[in-house]
């Protein structure tokens, strides 16, 4: 069964560094998403991406964040200059007609 994959599973970085989180959505899906879950809190929507551009973004998704589909398979989330409060689990998802399929997540730890 096709699934969404994410790499790395865990990323540790120092405050102020740039990080890129990678996702491979399900191949025939057209909508892609990033969500964030701070430890012990709910899952929050960051951004959706369709037809090579951002479709919708939340207030969390400020200028420090960017998304890109650099090739036909990968979907990336870049955080330009990480802050301590960016420490969270980041989930990628892709969608068919009805539902989203979530990847296993990348745990980002900013020290």
């Amino acid at each position: 069964e096709p699934e969404v994959t994410q790499t790395p599973s865990h990323q540790v970085t120092q405050m102020g560094q740039e990080v890129i989180l990678r996702c491979v959505p399900i191949s025939n899906h057209l909508y892609f998403y990033w969500y964030r879950q701070i430890l012990g809190q709910k899952v929050e929507f960051l951004v959706s991406f369709y037809n090579n551009e951002i479709s919708e973004k939340s207030e969390i998704f400020d200028d420090q964040f960017s998304v890109e589909r650099p090739d036909g398979s990968n979907f990336t989330l870049k955080i330009r200059s990480t802050k301590l409060e960016d420490s969270a689990m980041y989930f990628c998802a892709s969608r068919d007609d009805y539902e989203q399929y979530f990847g296993p997540g990348t745990r980002l730890t900013v020290t």
Partner: protein, 114 residues
């Protein structure tokens, strides 16, 4: 826009007892509804979903949920819980329009006691 409320942040229950986890939503458009389970330090696993049709949906691990449009609810139930059901449970809603993102509730921590 949609919103989701899970009134119970924590639900302790004894093993083999029934449980109900409550979820209410608000939306100005028709919605799809989902329940996810998250075990410690793991990702989101889909338990069940309501897309259309029968309002009673059955999922994995013996869980079921009933969609009640008039009460805008989608409560999750299990007739007899196991220790292994201890986890965080998230209700989520999505508008039916293509591409809409999910909105998650704050989660309910189910603790099954021996």
């Amino acid at each position: 826009a949609q919103s989701v409320t899970q009134l119970d942040s924590q639900v302790p229950v004894f093993e083999e007892a029934p449980v109900e986890l409550r979820c209410n939503y608000s939306s100005s458009v028709s919605v799809y509804l989902f329940w996810y389970v998250q075990y410690p330090n793991q990702g989101l696993q889909l338990l069940l979903k309501y897309l259309s049709g029968s309002t009673l949906v059955k999922g994995i691990n013996g869980f079921e949920a009933e969609f009640n449009k008039s009460q805008t609810s989608f409560h999750l139930r299990k007739p007899s819980v196991h220790i292994s059901d201890t986890a965080e449970y998230f209700c989520a809603v999505s508008g039916v329009n293509y591409g809409q993102n999910f909105v998650f509730g704050p989660g309910t921590r189910l603790s099954v006691l021996p």
